[in-house]
Symmetry: C2
Subunit: 308 residues, 2 copies
């Protein structure tokens, strides 16, 4: 933790953001708090708070910031943060920061399941060379549910694999199906990829009926929010061996040790790590530097979330 | 096994190639032999033999084919087949059939290592939700050694991941470095991907000196032939934790159960399965149908290997 001599007016998670700015702005004393250890003692003057990434407990400090004007989240989804935010405070999200990282993880999950990487890892642990031929991604039809910046980043990475991408978003638009068209699209999908935030519309979007509409052997991939899939229904359809799944997000999270989903052979689980890989940090630092400059200059912030 | 009434003049591995041809050519009686079970009893009239894929023992039949004129291999690399082939027999290889499959597997290996898929698989087996943030492919520099059709297919799949690709081939040409330039290129490579056949030039290409030239934390990927890397040197550099590796091919193959490479934490091994995934079969069937038509019509075959 670094402290400026005056009571800080901004709190950011990484000291080296200053390097991108040729030092902190004179008019905005900045302190560093990365979400671990002790926060600066006097938060009464903090006007701009950049929440440490993936440290939900850091929101507790909000109650100690009476001068707070703006909060920068480094997550794309702010569903859990919104209800904890004092009225009148501007909220900015981390839209775009995770696109490359999440899309890369989505492809890692898809390729791992289709090319049997979990199987080879376990055979390696047995020291056993026992080849068999696997499925391929090439020639698949992928149904991309959610077509924001992350969905588009997933699509860009899928296309050179000779994949046909069918786009679905909450609102239909040219080239993108509306979510209401899902019943007609699910029966032809080899792979379904969810990149959705959790909202009233998306919660439980893939339930028993939707999963039953998928063809045998289809792969369900979730890198959005766990609650968009009905976990019990997915467990049914994967435990029977009818569907495969690769999940970076689940409901509930963390997945309890005794949850049966851990043990399904056709399910690959990663613990909500899609967004935070190394490529996220330089992008996040550049956004924080830009937002600090804008805030110090009184210019409009980027990525402001409509709280209405 | 299907047999025609007359002694077969062609032997192919899959019966349903006939569907692509509206039946076998009248002038070329075809039998089916997939490399398992009993071959047709009378091979004396076989002029065209399509070797069953990944069944090296099927080359034993060559000695029973006195009328043989042409052999179609479904592999891209024919290094092991060449010395077993009678002089004067035309050899056609499976160039292009594996591009999509091998390139897809290369990406599966790269992403699995960088995004810690083996670690997550083992944590899943422990039912343990324990996130940590991983490395990324984005922002990496990949040195592609071998720039034939497989190398180009790997490149096409890498580019949307925000990867800088540096191409190296046996002969320098515009946009492609010659293999002699490797010493200057290795120190800047985050990932080295080998897609080389095994020849006198490529054997042991990555030895102790070349591996030592790579930066700390670099990832070595081999989807070509195992002998292009010095296994002992790679074991040294990975067991120390300095380098990572993801290998679909190794030397020796199969890797013996007591080989120390199995146990290196930073090494992911798959048992030579890159080329044979589901997407290979329709491509191979189309090639066989085309070659049978050409052979029956006395037209030149495709993919003829220069045996000089």
């Amino acid at each position: 933790m670094t402290q400026t001599p005056r009571a800080p007016r901004a709190l950011v998670p990484w000291a080296h953001v200053a390097d991108l700015m040729d030092g902190w702005p004179d008019e905005l004393p900045v302190a560093v708090y990365d979400g671990t250890g002790e926060p600066p003692p006097d938060l009464s003057a903090v006007r701009f708070y950049v929440l440490p990434y993936a440290k939900p407990e850091a929101t507790a400090l909000l109650a100690r910031m009476p001068a707070l004007e703006a909060v920068q989240s480094l997550s794309a989804g702010v569903d859990k943060l919104l209800p904890r935010l004092p009225p009148g405070v501007v909220l900015c999200n981390g839209r775009g920061l995770h696109d490359a990282s999440v899309a890369e993880h989505a492809l890692s999950l898809i390729l791992a399941v289709l090319r049997d990487i979990p199987h080879w890892v376990r055979r390696q642990d047995d020291h056993r060379w026992a080849p068999h031929f696997t499925r391929s991604l090439a020639g698949s039809r992928a149904l991309l549910i959610g077509y924001g910046s992350i969905g588009a980043a997933v699509e860009a990475r899928l296309l050179p694999f000779e994949v046909e991408v069918v786009r679905v978003a909450r609102r239909a638009r040219p080239g993108v199906h509306g979510i209401g068209e899902l019943p007609g699209l699910l029966p032809d999908a080899d792979i379904v990829i969810l990149t959705l935030p959790q909202t009233a519309t998306t919660t439980g979007l893939l339930g028993a009926e939707q999963l039953a509409a998928l063809p045998d052997g289809a792969l369900v991939v979730n890198v959005g929010r766990g609650g968009t899939i009905d976990t019990a229904a997915l467990l049914d359809q994967t435990a029977s061996g009818r569907l495969y799944a690769a999940l970076d997000v689940v409901d509930p999270e963390p997945l309890p040790a005794d949850h049966p989903l851990w043990r399904v052979p056709g399910v690959l689980i990663t613990p909500h790590v899609a967004g935070g890989s190394a490529t996220f940090y330089p992008r996040a630092e550049r956004l924080i530097a830009e937002q600090l400059r804008r805030f110090a200059d009184g210019r409009p912030l980027l990525n402001v979330v409509d709280r209405a």
